[in-house]
Amino acid sequence: MPEIYSIQWYEALKDLLNRNPEVEKNSPRGRFHVLAIINGDTQSPYLALGEMRGFVVEFVDGKCLEYAELRSCPPRKGFNFIFEMSASVFEGIAAGLIDLVDAGLKGTIKITGDMRILIRHAELVNVIYDVYAREVETLWPHGKPSSPPQNLSVAG
């Protein structure tokens, strides 16, 4: 079972995404680059306030070709979608405590990109949430979140 934020964890997510037929079925055609920015906060035991993790996910015709953490945050231009959230929100999603749609609608995840694609392929959000929250087995060396974080914000 891989630790959260480890290379093995990203690889496990990539494999699960590629093995799930619903991902391919509900994904847009073509090449899509997604950037996720995770901002550290006071509630996360994994990412302290002031720290940041970024990872890039590349989809081509419904298949995940890349799921990798970045050493530094790249220029935002060139990404089809950018998801930005605090670490405790990301970990809450991975622990199945926070509903991805709810977080998106409330603004605890900041989403920028082509909303027409997002709306056209809205079912993909539910499929990806299932992979994160239910399918991937995550090891939480500093403890698994047991309740949703308080005072949620994107910046952490």
Binding site: P28, R29, G30, V101, D102, A103, G104, L105, K106, G107, T108, I109, K110, I111, T112, G113, D114, M115, R116, I117, L118, I119, R120, A122
Partner: protein, 141 residues
């Protein structure tokens, strides 16, 4: 705020997020409308002619926004920005199907899947806004 300007059209419509709007739904609707108008002179022309305030309520997520049309500007507010001319309330999934162009607000209302209300003075606002906002088959991959 980004002003959507068409070289061949005088219908310039700015789509802005109200200063106090902080919800994700408001941001999504603002970006979506901006992108929809940016690529279609016909949509900009239709948006320019709409007046009124439409509330959109995602009943299962207790989340709502108001889209206000004033001619050369569309503002997206958090919550119900009274006085409203019309309101569409339904589950997140039902509202998404409207935007995807897979459902019609009148038919969905009659089937009880969403609730559409509008004032007599602006009776067709929900249908006009739906026609403006719904995805065309070629809008996105």
């Amino acid at each position: 705020m980004v002003v959507v300007k068409a070289a061949s059209s005088s219908f310039n419509v700015a789509v802005r997020l109200a200063p106090d709007a902080s919800s994700g739904l408001a941001s999504i609707v603002q970006q979506y409308l901006e992108q929809q108008l940016a690529e279609s002179a016909d949509r900009r022309r239709r948006a320019f002619r709409i007046r009124g305030r439409l509330g959109l309520v995602a009943t299962d997520y207790s989340n709502a926004v108001t889209v206000e049309f004033t001619g050369d500007e569309i503002s997206v507010h958090d919550g119900m920005h009274e006085p409203l001319d019309a309101r569409i309330a339904g589950t997140h999934q039902a509202l998404t199907k409207l935007l995807q162009g897979e459902a019609n607000p009148l038919i969905e209302h009659l089937r009880g899947r969403i609730k559409v209300t509008s004032k007599l003075r602006n009776l067709w606002l929900p249908l006009r806004v739906h026609r403006l906002m719904k995805l065309a088959r070629t809008d996105a991959r």
